[in-house]
Protein backbone atom coordinates (compact mmCIF):
# COMPACT_ATOMS: atom_id res chain seq x y z
CA UNK A 1 0.00 0.00 0.00
CA UNK A 2 2.76 2.39 1.08
CA UNK A 3 4.80 1.42 -1.93
CA UNK A 4 1.94 2.04 -4.33
CA UNK A 5 1.48 5.43 -2.76
CA UNK A 6 5.17 6.24 -3.22
CA UNK A 7 5.07 5.14 -6.84
CA UNK A 8 2.04 7.29 -7.45
CA UNK A 9 3.77 10.24 -5.95
CA UNK A 10 6.84 9.82 -8.13
CA UNK A 11 4.63 9.43 -11.18
CA UNK A 12 2.99 12.74 -10.30
CA UNK A 13 6.31 14.52 -9.83
CA UNK A 14 7.55 13.22 -13.18
CA UNK A 15 4.31 14.24 -14.84
CA UNK A 16 4.58 17.78 -13.51
CA UNK A 17 8.22 18.06 -14.55
CA UNK A 18 7.24 16.95 -18.07
CA UNK A 19 4.38 19.45 -18.21
CA UNK A 20 6.55 22.34 -17.08
CA UNK A 21 9.35 21.31 -19.45
CA UNK A 22 6.86 21.15 -22.32
CA UNK A 23 5.58 24.64 -21.52
CA UNK A 24 9.06 26.11 -21.27
CA UNK A 25 10.27 24.37 -24.41
CA UNK A 26 7.17 24.79 -26.58
CA UNK A 27 8.15 28.21 -28.03
CA UNK A 28 11.50 26.93 -29.25
CA UNK A 29 10.09 23.71 -30.70
CA UNK A 30 6.85 24.83 -32.28
CA UNK A 31 6.66 27.29 -35.18
CA UNK A 32 5.08 30.62 -34.22
CA UNK A 33 1.82 29.73 -35.96
CA UNK A 34 1.40 26.43 -34.07
CA UNK A 35 2.50 27.96 -30.78
CA UNK A 36 -0.09 30.67 -31.20
CA UNK A 37 -2.76 28.06 -31.85
CA UNK A 38 -1.75 26.09 -28.77
CA UNK A 39 -1.89 29.27 -26.68
CA UNK A 40 -5.39 30.00 -27.91
CA UNK A 41 -6.57 26.49 -27.17
CA UNK A 42 -5.15 26.70 -23.68
CA UNK A 43 -7.16 29.89 -23.25
CA UNK A 44 -10.23 27.91 -24.28
CA UNK A 45 -9.29 25.26 -21.71
CA UNK A 46 -9.81 27.89 -19.00
CA UNK A 47 -13.38 28.35 -20.21
CA UNK A 48 -13.81 24.58 -20.31
CA UNK A 49 -12.69 24.28 -16.69
CA UNK A 50 -15.45 26.69 -15.72
CA UNK A 51 -17.98 24.66 -17.69
CA UNK A 52 -16.81 21.50 -15.99
CA UNK A 53 -17.37 23.18 -12.63
CA UNK A 54 -20.97 24.18 -13.38
CA UNK A 55 -21.96 21.28 -15.61
CA UNK A 56 -19.78 18.35 -14.61
CA UNK A 57 -20.09 18.93 -10.90
CA UNK A 58 -23.22 21.00 -10.37
CA UNK A 59 -25.30 19.81 -13.31
CA UNK A 60 -25.95 23.25 -14.81
CA UNK A 61 -25.68 23.02 -18.59
CA UNK A 62 -25.01 26.55 -19.77
CA UNK A 63 -25.13 27.20 -23.49
CA UNK A 64 -24.30 30.87 -22.99
CA UNK A 65 -20.69 30.87 -21.80
CA UNK A 66 -19.86 32.81 -24.98
CA UNK A 67 -21.31 35.92 -23.33
CA UNK A 68 -18.75 35.91 -20.55
CA UNK A 69 -15.99 34.81 -22.88
CA UNK A 70 -16.67 37.75 -25.18
CA UNK A 71 -16.98 40.24 -22.33
CA UNK A 72 -13.51 39.30 -21.08
CA UNK A 73 -12.20 39.65 -24.61
CA UNK A 74 -13.80 43.05 -25.10
CA UNK A 75 -12.41 44.31 -21.79
CA UNK A 76 -8.87 43.38 -22.86
CA UNK A 77 -9.33 44.74 -26.37
CA UNK A 78 -10.73 48.07 -25.14
CA UNK A 79 -7.69 48.64 -22.97
CA UNK A 80 -5.30 47.77 -25.80
CA UNK A 81 -7.17 50.01 -28.23
CA UNK A 82 -7.02 52.95 -25.84
CA UNK A 83 -3.40 52.26 -25.00
CA UNK A 84 -2.48 52.55 -28.68
CA UNK A 85 -4.57 55.51 -29.75
CA UNK A 86 -3.05 58.41 -27.84
CA UNK A 87 -1.47 59.84 -30.97
CA UNK A 88 -4.61 59.47 -33.06
CA UNK A 89 -7.27 62.09 -33.78
CA UNK A 90 -9.01 63.09 -30.52
CA UNK A 91 -6.97 60.39 -28.80
CA UNK A 92 -9.63 57.79 -29.44
CA UNK A 93 -9.51 54.51 -31.35
CA UNK A 94 -9.56 54.89 -35.11
CA UNK A 95 -12.84 53.11 -35.84
CA UNK A 96 -14.84 55.75 -34.01
CA UNK A 97 -14.08 58.29 -36.75
CA UNK A 98 -15.79 56.01 -39.30
CA UNK A 99 -19.08 56.55 -37.51
CA UNK A 100 -18.54 60.24 -36.79
CA UNK A 101 -17.96 59.71 -33.07
CA UNK A 102 -15.46 62.25 -31.75
CA UNK A 103 -15.81 61.70 -28.01
CA UNK A 104 -15.01 58.53 -26.17
CA UNK A 105 -18.17 56.86 -24.79
CA UNK A 106 -18.19 57.11 -21.00
CA UNK A 107 -17.97 53.39 -20.33
CA UNK A 108 -14.64 53.28 -22.20
CA UNK A 109 -13.02 55.72 -19.76
CA UNK A 110 -12.06 53.32 -16.96
CA UNK A 111 -10.33 51.06 -19.48
CA UNK A 112 -7.49 53.57 -19.68
CA UNK A 113 -6.31 51.96 -16.47
CA UNK A 114 -4.44 48.65 -16.82
CA UNK A 115 -5.29 47.72 -13.24
CA UNK A 116 -9.00 48.29 -13.79
CA UNK A 117 -8.82 46.20 -16.95
CA UNK A 118 -7.11 43.31 -15.21
CA UNK A 119 -9.91 43.25 -12.65
CA UNK A 120 -12.69 43.91 -15.16
CA UNK A 121 -11.67 40.93 -17.28
CA UNK A 122 -13.01 38.52 -14.68
CA UNK A 123 -15.15 40.74 -12.46
CA UNK A 124 -17.56 42.05 -15.11
CA UNK A 125 -18.40 38.60 -16.53
CA UNK A 126 -18.49 37.18 -13.01
CA UNK A 127 -20.91 39.78 -11.71
CA UNK A 128 -23.09 39.50 -14.80
CA UNK A 129 -23.16 35.72 -14.40
CA UNK A 130 -24.10 36.13 -10.75
CA UNK A 131 -26.97 38.48 -11.63
CA UNK A 132 -28.29 36.34 -14.50
CA UNK A 133 -27.78 33.16 -12.51
CA UNK A 134 -29.45 34.44 -9.39
CA UNK A 135 -32.48 35.57 -11.35
CA UNK A 136 -32.84 32.15 -12.93
CA UNK A 137 -31.93 30.02 -9.91
CA UNK A 138 -34.10 32.00 -7.51
CA UNK A 139 -37.11 31.14 -9.62
CA UNK A 140 -36.04 27.50 -9.56
CA UNK A 141 -35.60 27.26 -13.29
CA UNK A 142 -33.71 24.05 -13.88
CA UNK A 143 -32.49 21.54 -16.40
CA UNK A 144 -33.20 22.13 -20.04
CA UNK A 145 -35.09 25.35 -19.31
CA UNK A 146 -31.94 26.78 -17.80
CA UNK A 147 -29.99 25.78 -20.92
CA UNK A 148 -32.55 27.42 -23.20
CA UNK A 149 -32.50 30.61 -21.14
CA UNK A 150 -28.71 30.84 -21.30
CA UNK A 151 -28.85 30.35 -25.06
CA UNK A 152 -31.51 33.04 -25.36
CA UNK A 153 -29.35 35.40 -23.30
CA UNK A 154 -26.45 34.62 -25.63
CA UNK A 155 -28.53 35.62 -28.66
CA UNK A 156 -29.59 38.84 -26.98
CA UNK A 157 -25.97 39.79 -26.31
CA UNK A 158 -24.90 38.70 -29.80
CA UNK A 159 -27.48 40.90 -31.48
CA UNK A 160 -26.82 43.82 -29.18
CA UNK A 161 -23.06 43.79 -29.76
CA UNK A 162 -23.56 43.31 -33.49
CA UNK A 163 -25.63 46.47 -33.72
CA UNK A 164 -23.49 48.84 -31.66
CA UNK A 165 -21.08 50.33 -34.23
CA UNK A 166 -20.80 53.61 -32.39
CA UNK A 167 -19.97 51.98 -29.08
CA UNK A 168 -17.79 48.96 -29.83
CA UNK A 169 -17.47 48.82 -33.62
CA UNK A 170 -20.41 46.43 -33.95
CA UNK A 171 -19.99 43.40 -36.13
CA UNK A 172 -16.39 44.32 -37.07
CA UNK A 173 -15.15 43.82 -33.53
CA UNK A 174 -12.04 45.28 -31.99
CA UNK A 175 -8.62 44.38 -33.32
CA UNK A 176 -5.77 43.80 -30.90
CA UNK A 177 -2.89 42.49 -33.01
CA UNK A 178 -1.85 45.94 -34.24
CA UNK A 179 -2.17 47.55 -30.81
CA UNK A 180 0.69 48.32 -28.47
CA UNK A 181 1.52 46.88 -25.09
CA UNK A 182 4.75 47.71 -23.20
CA UNK A 183 5.84 49.52 -26.32
CA UNK A 184 5.60 46.41 -28.45
CA UNK A 185 3.13 45.22 -31.04
CA UNK A 186 0.70 42.74 -29.47
CA UNK A 187 0.77 40.60 -32.61
CA UNK A 188 4.58 40.30 -32.64
CA UNK A 189 6.15 36.83 -32.11
CA UNK A 190 7.85 37.96 -28.88
CA UNK A 191 4.57 39.14 -27.36
CA UNK A 192 2.77 36.04 -28.53
CA UNK A 193 5.37 33.86 -26.85
CA UNK A 194 4.81 35.82 -23.65
CA UNK A 195 1.06 35.37 -23.90
CA UNK A 196 1.53 31.66 -24.45
CA UNK A 197 3.45 31.34 -21.21
CA UNK A 198 0.99 33.49 -19.31
CA UNK A 199 -1.89 31.38 -20.61
CA UNK A 200 -0.19 28.11 -19.71
CA UNK A 201 0.45 29.32 -16.17
CA UNK A 202 -3.11 30.61 -15.83
CA UNK A 203 -4.45 27.22 -16.96
CA UNK A 204 -2.44 25.48 -14.26
CA UNK A 205 -3.58 27.90 -11.57
CA UNK A 206 -7.16 27.69 -12.76
CA UNK A 207 -6.99 23.92 -12.57
CA UNK A 208 -5.60 24.11 -9.02
CA UNK A 209 -8.27 26.62 -8.05
CA UNK A 210 -11.19 24.65 -9.45
CA UNK A 211 -9.82 21.47 -7.91
CA UNK A 212 -9.68 23.23 -4.56
CA UNK A 213 -13.28 24.36 -5.02
CA UNK A 214 -14.63 20.91 -5.83
CA UNK A 215 -12.69 19.04 -3.18
CA UNK A 216 -14.09 19.00 0.29
CA UNK A 217 -17.56 19.76 1.45
CA UNK A 218 -18.22 22.66 -0.92
CA UNK A 219 -17.72 20.28 -3.83
CA UNK A 220 -19.89 17.70 -2.08
CA UNK A 221 -22.68 20.26 -1.94
CA UNK A 222 -22.29 20.86 -5.68
CA UNK A 223 -22.57 17.14 -6.36
CA UNK A 224 -25.56 16.98 -4.03
CA UNK A 225 -27.20 19.75 -6.06
CA UNK A 226 -26.66 17.67 -9.19
CA UNK A 227 -28.04 14.56 -7.48
CA UNK A 228 -31.07 15.86 -5.65
CA UNK A 229 -31.44 19.58 -5.19
CA UNK A 230 -34.79 19.61 -3.31
CA UNK A 231 -33.41 17.13 -0.78
CA UNK A 232 -30.49 19.46 -0.11
CA UNK A 233 -32.88 22.26 0.83
CA UNK A 234 -34.43 20.12 3.53
CA UNK A 235 -30.94 19.54 4.90
CA UNK A 236 -30.71 23.29 5.51
CA UNK A 237 -28.63 24.32 2.49
CA UNK A 238 -29.60 27.09 0.13
CA UNK A 239 -28.85 25.73 -3.36
CA UNK A 240 -29.55 29.10 -5.00
CA UNK A 241 -26.56 30.61 -3.23
CA UNK A 242 -24.20 27.82 -4.21
CA UNK A 243 -25.39 27.74 -7.82
CA UNK A 244 -25.10 31.50 -8.16
CA UNK A 245 -21.59 31.35 -6.76
CA UNK A 246 -20.29 28.62 -9.09
CA UNK A 247 -22.01 30.17 -12.08
CA UNK A 248 -20.24 33.44 -11.25
CA UNK A 249 -16.91 31.61 -10.93
CA UNK A 250 -17.45 29.93 -14.30
CA UNK A 251 -18.38 33.31 -15.78
CA UNK A 252 -15.21 34.88 -14.40
CA UNK A 253 -13.09 32.03 -15.77
CA UNK A 254 -14.75 32.40 -19.17
CA UNK A 255 -13.83 36.10 -19.06
CA UNK A 256 -10.18 35.33 -18.32
CA UNK A 257 -10.15 32.75 -21.10
CA UNK A 258 -11.77 35.25 -23.46
CA UNK A 259 -9.19 37.92 -22.73
CA UNK A 260 -6.25 35.56 -23.27
CA UNK A 261 -7.87 34.18 -26.43
CA UNK A 262 -8.43 37.67 -27.79
CA UNK A 263 -4.85 38.84 -27.41
CA UNK A 264 -3.65 35.69 -29.18
CA UNK A 265 -6.20 35.65 -31.98
CA UNK A 266 -5.79 39.35 -32.67
CA UNK A 267 -9.44 40.35 -32.61
CA UNK A 268 -12.57 40.18 -30.51
CA UNK A 269 -15.91 40.34 -32.27
CA UNK A 270 -19.51 39.33 -31.71
CA UNK A 271 -18.56 36.09 -33.45
CA UNK A 272 -17.40 34.98 -29.98
CA UNK A 273 -21.08 34.97 -29.04
CA UNK A 274 -22.45 32.78 -31.78
CA UNK A 275 -24.61 29.86 -30.72
CA UNK A 276 -22.44 27.10 -32.26
CA UNK A 277 -19.29 28.30 -30.49
CA UNK A 278 -20.89 28.10 -27.05
CA UNK A 279 -22.18 24.64 -27.85
CA UNK A 280 -18.70 23.60 -28.95
CA UNK A 281 -17.41 24.60 -25.52
CA UNK A 282 -19.82 22.13 -23.98
CA UNK A 283 -18.70 19.44 -26.42
CA UNK A 284 -15.05 19.82 -25.36
CA UNK A 285 -16.03 19.06 -21.79
CA UNK A 286 -18.37 16.22 -22.76
CA UNK A 287 -15.71 14.53 -24.88
CA UNK A 288 -12.94 15.07 -22.35
CA UNK A 289 -15.07 13.87 -19.48
CA UNK A 290 -17.47 15.71 -17.22
CA UNK A 291 -16.41 16.14 -13.64
CA UNK A 292 -12.77 15.22 -14.30
CA UNK A 293 -11.22 18.72 -14.77
CA UNK A 294 -8.24 17.26 -16.66
CA UNK A 295 -10.73 16.04 -19.24
CA UNK A 296 -11.97 19.59 -19.77
CA UNK A 297 -8.44 20.86 -20.45
CA UNK A 298 -7.50 17.98 -22.76
CA UNK A 299 -10.88 18.10 -24.49
CA UNK A 300 -10.53 21.79 -25.27
CA UNK A 301 -6.94 21.51 -26.50
CA UNK A 302 -7.19 18.28 -28.51
CA UNK A 303 -10.55 18.90 -30.16
CA UNK A 304 -9.44 22.34 -31.26
CA UNK A 305 -6.11 21.03 -32.50
CA UNK A 306 -7.93 18.33 -34.43
CA UNK A 307 -10.25 20.98 -35.77
CA UNK A 308 -7.44 23.11 -37.11
CA UNK A 309 -5.53 20.16 -38.57
CA UNK A 310 -8.61 18.66 -40.22
CA UNK A 311 -9.74 22.04 -41.49
CA UNK A 312 -6.37 22.60 -43.14
CA UNK A 313 -6.55 19.25 -44.95
CA UNK A 314 -10.26 18.91 -45.66
CA UNK A 315 -12.02 22.20 -44.99
CA UNK A 316 -15.58 20.88 -45.33
CA UNK A 317 -15.36 17.81 -43.19
CA UNK A 318 -14.76 19.12 -39.67
CA UNK A 319 -18.41 19.70 -38.75
CA UNK A 320 -19.22 16.11 -39.64
CA UNK A 321 -16.35 14.82 -37.55
CA UNK A 322 -17.34 17.02 -34.62
CA UNK A 323 -20.95 15.88 -34.87
CA UNK A 324 -19.83 12.27 -35.05
CA UNK A 325 -17.60 12.76 -32.03
CA UNK A 326 -20.48 14.15 -30.02
CA UNK A 327 -22.78 11.30 -31.01
CA UNK A 328 -20.05 8.82 -30.09
CA UNK A 329 -19.63 10.36 -26.66
CA UNK A 330 -23.35 10.53 -25.97
CA UNK A 331 -24.01 6.95 -27.03
CA UNK A 332 -20.83 5.04 -26.19
CA UNK A 333 -18.80 7.16 -23.79
CA UNK A 334 -21.17 9.09 -21.54
CA UNK A 335 -18.33 9.61 -19.07
CA UNK A 336 -16.07 11.12 -21.71
CA UNK A 337 -12.58 9.90 -22.56
CA UNK A 338 -10.90 10.67 -19.24
CA UNK A 339 -13.94 9.46 -17.32
CA UNK A 340 -13.78 6.23 -19.29
CA UNK A 341 -10.15 5.65 -18.32
CA UNK A 342 -10.76 6.55 -14.69
CA UNK A 343 -13.78 4.28 -14.45
CA UNK A 344 -14.20 0.65 -15.43
CA UNK A 345 -13.80 1.41 -19.13
CA UNK A 346 -10.46 -0.29 -19.91
CA UNK A 347 -11.35 -3.41 -17.93
CA UNK A 348 -14.76 -3.67 -19.58
CA UNK A 349 -13.15 -3.39 -22.99
CA UNK A 350 -10.66 -6.16 -22.16
CA UNK A 351 -13.55 -8.24 -20.87
CA UNK A 352 -15.41 -7.84 -24.08
CA UNK A 353 -12.39 -8.79 -26.10
CA UNK A 354 -11.97 -11.82 -23.86
CA UNK A 355 -8.49 -10.74 -22.82
CA UNK A 356 -8.84 -10.15 -19.10
CA UNK A 357 -8.46 -12.53 -16.24
CA UNK A 358 -11.91 -13.59 -15.12
CA UNK A 359 -12.75 -12.30 -11.72
CA UNK A 360 -14.17 -14.77 -9.27
CA UNK A 361 -17.31 -12.81 -8.74
CA UNK A 362 -18.83 -9.50 -9.58
CA UNK A 363 -16.28 -6.80 -8.80
CA UNK A 364 -18.32 -5.11 -6.08
CA UNK A 365 -19.75 -8.16 -4.37
CA UNK A 366 -18.19 -8.47 -0.95
CA UNK A 367 -19.54 -10.16 2.10
CA UNK A 368 -19.24 -7.53 4.71
CA UNK A 369 -17.15 -4.80 3.24
CA UNK A 370 -13.88 -6.43 4.28
CA UNK A 371 -13.59 -10.13 3.57
CA UNK A 372 -13.51 -10.89 -0.12
CA UNK A 373 -14.89 -13.99 -1.74
CA UNK A 374 -12.10 -16.33 -2.78
CA UNK A 375 -12.42 -17.38 -6.40
Amino acid sequence: MMKAFQQRRWALVILWVLIIAAIVAAPSVLPVFRLNLLGRFLALAIVALGIDLIWGFTGLLSLGQGIFFALGGYAAAMYLQLNSSEDLLNGIPEFFTLYGVDRLPAFWQPFHSPLFTLVAIWLIPGVLAALLGNLVFRNRVKGVYFSILTQAALLVFFNFFNGQQKLINGTNGLKTDVTQLFGQMVGSPEMQRGFFWVTAVVVIFTWLFVRWVVRGRFGDVLIAIRDDEPRLRFAGYNPTLFKTLVFAIAGGLAGIGGALYTVQSGIVSPQFMTVPFSIEMVIWVAVGGRGTLVGAILGAVFINYAKSLVSEAMPQSWLFIQGGLFILVVTALPEGVIGWFQGDGPRNLLNRLGMSRRSGTYPRLELDGQEEIQP
Binding site: R217, R231, L232, R233, F234, A235, G236, N238
Partner: protein
Protein backbone atom coordinates in the same frame (compact mmCIF):
# COMPACT_ATOMS: atom_id res chain seq x y z
CA UNK B 1 -54.84 24.72 24.18
CA UNK B 2 -51.28 24.65 25.52
CA UNK B 3 -48.74 25.93 23.11
CA UNK B 4 -46.69 23.03 21.78
CA UNK B 5 -43.52 22.74 19.76
CA UNK B 6 -45.51 22.54 16.56
CA UNK B 7 -49.02 23.78 16.03
CA UNK B 8 -51.05 23.50 12.87
CA UNK B 9 -54.08 25.75 13.00
CA UNK B 10 -56.86 25.27 10.48
CA UNK B 11 -54.60 24.33 7.57
CA UNK B 12 -56.31 24.09 4.21
CA UNK B 13 -54.43 23.19 1.05
CA UNK B 14 -56.13 23.38 -2.29
CA UNK B 15 -54.70 21.95 -5.52
CA UNK B 16 -56.83 23.53 -8.24
CA UNK B 17 -59.94 23.18 -6.17
CA UNK B 18 -59.13 19.75 -4.80
CA UNK B 19 -58.74 20.04 -1.05
CA UNK B 20 -55.73 17.94 -0.10
CA UNK B 21 -56.03 19.19 3.47
CA UNK B 22 -59.06 20.86 4.96
CA UNK B 23 -59.10 22.66 8.30
CA UNK B 24 -56.40 20.46 9.77
CA UNK B 25 -55.44 21.03 13.40
CA UNK B 26 -52.59 19.31 15.16
CA UNK B 27 -50.51 20.02 18.23
CA UNK B 28 -47.20 18.40 19.10
CA UNK B 29 -45.57 18.75 22.52
CA UNK B 30 -41.77 18.83 22.92
CA UNK B 31 -40.30 15.35 23.22
CA UNK B 32 -43.42 13.66 21.94
CA UNK B 33 -43.47 10.69 19.58
CA UNK B 34 -46.53 10.77 17.37
CA UNK B 35 -47.67 8.46 14.63
CA UNK B 36 -49.89 9.62 11.80
CA UNK B 37 -51.78 7.05 9.79
CA UNK B 38 -54.43 7.27 7.16
CA UNK B 39 -55.51 5.61 3.93
CA UNK B 40 -53.96 6.55 0.61
CA UNK B 41 -54.80 10.09 -0.41
CA UNK B 42 -55.52 11.17 3.16
CA UNK B 43 -53.03 14.02 2.77
CA UNK B 44 -50.23 12.62 4.90
CA UNK B 45 -47.39 13.69 2.67
CA UNK B 46 -49.01 17.04 1.82
CA UNK B 47 -49.19 17.68 5.51
CA UNK B 48 -45.40 17.28 5.77
CA UNK B 49 -44.98 19.45 2.67
CA UNK B 50 -46.82 22.24 4.46
CA UNK B 51 -44.68 22.03 7.58
CA UNK B 52 -41.41 21.97 5.64
CA UNK B 53 -42.38 24.83 3.36
CA UNK B 54 -42.70 22.90 0.11
CA UNK B 55 -46.40 23.67 -0.21
CA UNK B 56 -48.05 26.89 0.92
CA UNK B 57 -51.46 26.44 2.55
CA UNK B 58 -54.31 28.56 1.28
CA UNK B 59 -55.62 29.02 4.81
CA UNK B 60 -54.36 28.52 8.31
CA UNK B 61 -51.02 28.89 10.02
CA UNK B 62 -48.11 26.70 11.08
CA UNK B 63 -46.39 27.68 14.31
CA UNK B 64 -43.04 26.20 15.31
CA UNK B 65 -41.78 27.26 18.75
CA UNK B 66 -44.42 29.97 18.57
CA UNK B 67 -43.18 31.41 15.27
CA UNK B 68 -45.04 31.17 12.00
CA UNK B 69 -43.30 29.12 9.31
CA UNK B 70 -45.39 30.44 6.44
CA UNK B 71 -43.49 32.21 3.70
CA UNK B 72 -40.10 30.91 4.82
CA UNK B 73 -38.02 29.00 2.25
CA UNK B 74 -37.33 25.31 2.88
CA UNK B 75 -33.71 25.69 3.91
CA UNK B 76 -34.56 28.29 6.56
CA UNK B 77 -37.26 26.07 8.01
CA UNK B 78 -34.72 23.25 8.10
CA UNK B 79 -32.24 25.51 9.93
CA UNK B 80 -34.89 26.39 12.51
CA UNK B 81 -34.75 22.74 13.53
CA UNK B 82 -37.11 20.71 11.38
CA UNK B 83 -35.69 17.67 9.63
CA UNK B 84 -37.50 15.54 7.13
CA UNK B 85 -37.05 12.01 5.87
CA UNK B 86 -38.71 11.27 2.58
CA UNK B 87 -40.95 8.41 1.64
CA UNK B 88 -38.53 6.75 -0.74
CA UNK B 89 -35.00 7.07 0.58
CA UNK B 90 -33.38 10.18 -0.77
CA UNK B 91 -29.66 10.24 -0.17
CA UNK B 92 -26.99 11.80 -2.35
CA UNK B 93 -26.03 8.78 -4.40
CA UNK B 94 -22.83 10.16 -5.89
CA UNK B 95 -21.41 10.95 -2.45
CA UNK B 96 -20.02 8.44 0.00
CA UNK B 97 -21.82 7.54 3.21
CA UNK B 98 -19.32 9.62 5.14
CA UNK B 99 -19.77 12.65 2.85
CA UNK B 100 -23.55 12.39 3.09
CA UNK B 101 -23.35 12.50 6.87
CA UNK B 102 -20.72 15.24 6.82
CA UNK B 103 -23.11 17.47 4.90
CA UNK B 104 -25.81 16.74 7.46
CA UNK B 105 -23.68 17.63 10.50
CA UNK B 106 -21.96 20.66 8.92
CA UNK B 107 -22.82 23.91 10.52
CA UNK B 108 -23.07 26.73 9.47
CA UNK B 109 -24.15 25.69 6.02
CA UNK B 110 -22.64 28.66 4.20
CA UNK B 111 -20.44 28.43 1.10
CA UNK B 112 -17.45 30.15 2.66
CA UNK B 113 -17.15 27.94 5.73
CA UNK B 114 -17.53 24.83 3.57
CA UNK B 115 -14.86 26.09 1.20
CA UNK B 116 -12.09 27.02 3.60
CA UNK B 117 -12.20 24.39 6.30
CA UNK B 118 -12.74 20.72 6.93
CA UNK B 119 -14.95 19.15 9.54
CA UNK B 120 -14.17 19.95 13.15
CA UNK B 121 -13.04 16.94 15.14
CA UNK B 122 -16.28 16.99 17.17
CA UNK B 123 -18.19 16.80 13.90
CA UNK B 124 -16.01 13.94 12.68
CA UNK B 125 -16.73 12.07 15.88
CA UNK B 126 -20.39 12.72 15.35
CA UNK B 127 -20.25 11.26 11.84
CA UNK B 128 -18.53 8.16 13.26
CA UNK B 129 -21.14 7.90 15.98
CA UNK B 130 -24.01 8.20 13.51
CA UNK B 131 -22.50 5.52 11.32
CA UNK B 132 -22.21 3.21 14.29
CA UNK B 133 -25.85 3.81 15.25
CA UNK B 134 -27.09 2.71 11.84
CA UNK B 135 -24.36 0.12 11.42
CA UNK B 136 -22.73 1.61 8.35
CA UNK B 137 -19.12 2.06 9.58
CA UNK B 138 -17.86 -0.57 7.17
CA UNK B 139 -19.60 1.21 4.31
CA UNK B 140 -18.19 4.63 5.19
CA UNK B 141 -16.42 5.12 1.88
CA UNK B 142 -19.02 3.50 -0.33
CA UNK B 143 -21.05 5.64 -2.64
CA UNK B 144 -24.51 5.93 -1.15
CA UNK B 145 -25.93 4.80 -4.49
CA UNK B 146 -24.33 1.38 -3.98
CA UNK B 147 -26.14 0.74 -0.70
CA UNK B 148 -29.11 -1.56 -0.37
CA UNK B 149 -32.58 -0.11 0.04
CA UNK B 150 -32.63 -0.69 3.78
CA UNK B 151 -29.19 0.83 4.22
CA UNK B 152 -30.29 3.91 2.30
CA UNK B 153 -33.30 4.25 4.57
CA UNK B 154 -31.04 4.13 7.57
CA UNK B 155 -28.49 6.46 6.08
CA UNK B 156 -31.24 8.97 5.52
CA UNK B 157 -32.44 8.60 9.09
CA UNK B 158 -28.84 9.07 10.27
CA UNK B 159 -28.56 12.20 8.12
CA UNK B 160 -31.74 13.46 9.68
CA UNK B 161 -30.43 12.88 13.18
CA UNK B 162 -27.12 14.46 12.16
CA UNK B 163 -28.94 17.68 11.38
CA UNK B 164 -29.87 17.65 15.07
CA UNK B 165 -33.37 18.96 14.54
CA UNK B 166 -35.86 19.58 17.33
CA UNK B 167 -38.57 18.07 15.21
CA UNK B 168 -38.09 14.99 13.04
CA UNK B 169 -40.68 14.33 10.36
CA UNK B 170 -40.33 10.76 9.20
CA UNK B 171 -42.30 9.63 6.17
CA UNK B 172 -42.72 5.84 5.88
CA UNK B 173 -39.35 4.86 7.36
CA UNK B 174 -39.90 1.12 7.09
CA UNK B 175 -41.25 0.83 3.56
CA UNK B 176 -39.38 -2.05 1.96
CA UNK B 177 -37.47 -3.06 5.08
CA UNK B 178 -37.18 -6.57 6.49
CA UNK B 179 -38.94 -7.39 9.75
CA UNK B 180 -35.70 -7.24 11.65
CA UNK B 181 -34.80 -3.86 10.18
CA UNK B 182 -38.31 -2.63 10.94
CA UNK B 183 -37.94 -3.53 14.60
CA UNK B 184 -34.56 -1.83 14.80
CA UNK B 185 -35.97 1.28 13.16
CA UNK B 186 -38.82 1.40 15.66
CA UNK B 187 -36.35 1.16 18.54
CA UNK B 188 -34.20 3.86 16.99
CA UNK B 189 -37.13 6.26 16.64
CA UNK B 190 -38.30 5.55 20.18
CA UNK B 191 -34.83 6.27 21.51
CA UNK B 192 -34.81 9.59 19.65
CA UNK B 193 -38.08 10.74 21.19
CA UNK B 194 -37.57 12.65 24.41
CA UNK B 195 -34.58 14.61 23.20
CA UNK B 196 -36.35 15.23 19.92
CA UNK B 197 -39.96 15.44 18.90
CA UNK B 198 -40.70 12.78 16.34
CA UNK B 199 -43.62 12.56 13.95
CA UNK B 200 -43.88 9.33 12.01
CA UNK B 201 -46.10 8.68 9.04
CA UNK B 202 -46.55 5.01 8.30
CA UNK B 203 -48.84 2.40 6.77
CA UNK B 204 -47.43 -0.55 8.67
CA UNK B 205 -49.74 -1.15 11.64
CA UNK B 206 -47.37 -3.55 13.40
CA UNK B 207 -44.70 -0.90 13.26
CA UNK B 208 -47.02 1.73 14.71
CA UNK B 209 -48.02 -0.65 17.47
CA UNK B 210 -44.40 -1.19 18.29
CA UNK B 211 -43.79 2.54 18.51
CA UNK B 212 -46.33 2.55 21.32
CA UNK B 213 -47.24 6.17 20.78
CA UNK B 214 -50.35 8.31 20.37
CA UNK B 215 -51.84 7.93 16.92
CA UNK B 216 -53.52 10.54 14.75
CA UNK B 217 -55.72 9.26 11.94
CA UNK B 218 -56.04 11.43 8.86
CA UNK B 219 -58.85 11.01 6.41
CA UNK B 220 -59.55 13.18 3.37
CA UNK B 221 -57.29 15.90 4.65
CA UNK B 222 -58.85 16.08 8.07
CA UNK B 223 -58.03 14.65 11.49
CA UNK B 224 -60.48 11.83 12.00
CA UNK B 225 -59.49 10.89 15.53
CA UNK B 226 -56.60 10.68 17.93
CA UNK B 227 -55.75 8.17 20.63
CA UNK B 228 -53.69 5.12 21.41
CA UNK B 229 -53.39 2.38 18.83
CA UNK B 230 -55.90 0.21 20.71
CA UNK B 231 -58.45 3.00 20.93
CA UNK B 232 -58.00 3.95 17.31
CA UNK B 233 -58.32 0.41 16.05
CA UNK B 234 -61.77 -0.08 17.51
CA UNK B 235 -63.05 3.33 16.47
CA UNK B 236 -65.91 2.66 14.03
CA UNK B 237 -65.00 5.69 11.90
CA UNK B 238 -61.45 4.40 11.44
CA UNK B 239 -62.71 0.95 10.53
CA UNK B 240 -65.04 2.54 8.05
CA UNK B 241 -62.38 4.59 6.22
CA UNK B 242 -59.92 1.71 6.17
CA UNK B 243 -62.33 -1.03 5.16
CA UNK B 244 -64.72 1.08 3.10
CA UNK B 245 -68.29 2.02 3.84
CA UNK B 246 -70.38 -0.97 4.70
CA UNK B 247 -73.38 -0.39 2.44
CA UNK B 248 -74.29 -4.05 2.48
CA UNK B 249 -74.67 -4.00 6.24
CA UNK B 250 -77.08 -1.11 6.17
CA UNK B 251 -79.45 -2.93 3.85
Amino acid sequence: MTSGLLELCGITVSFDGFLALRDLNLNLQPGELRAVIGPNGAGKTTFLDVITGKVAPSEGDVLFKGRSLLGRPEHRIARLGIGRKFQSPRVFEQLTVRENLALAVSRPKQPWTLLIGGLRSSQRDRVQHLMSIVNLQKRADWLAGALSHGQKQWLEIAMLVGQDPDLLLVDEPVAGLTDEETDLTADLLKSLAGDHTVLVIEHDMEFIRRLDSPVTVLHQGHVLCEGTMDQVQVDPRVIEVYLGTTEDDSK
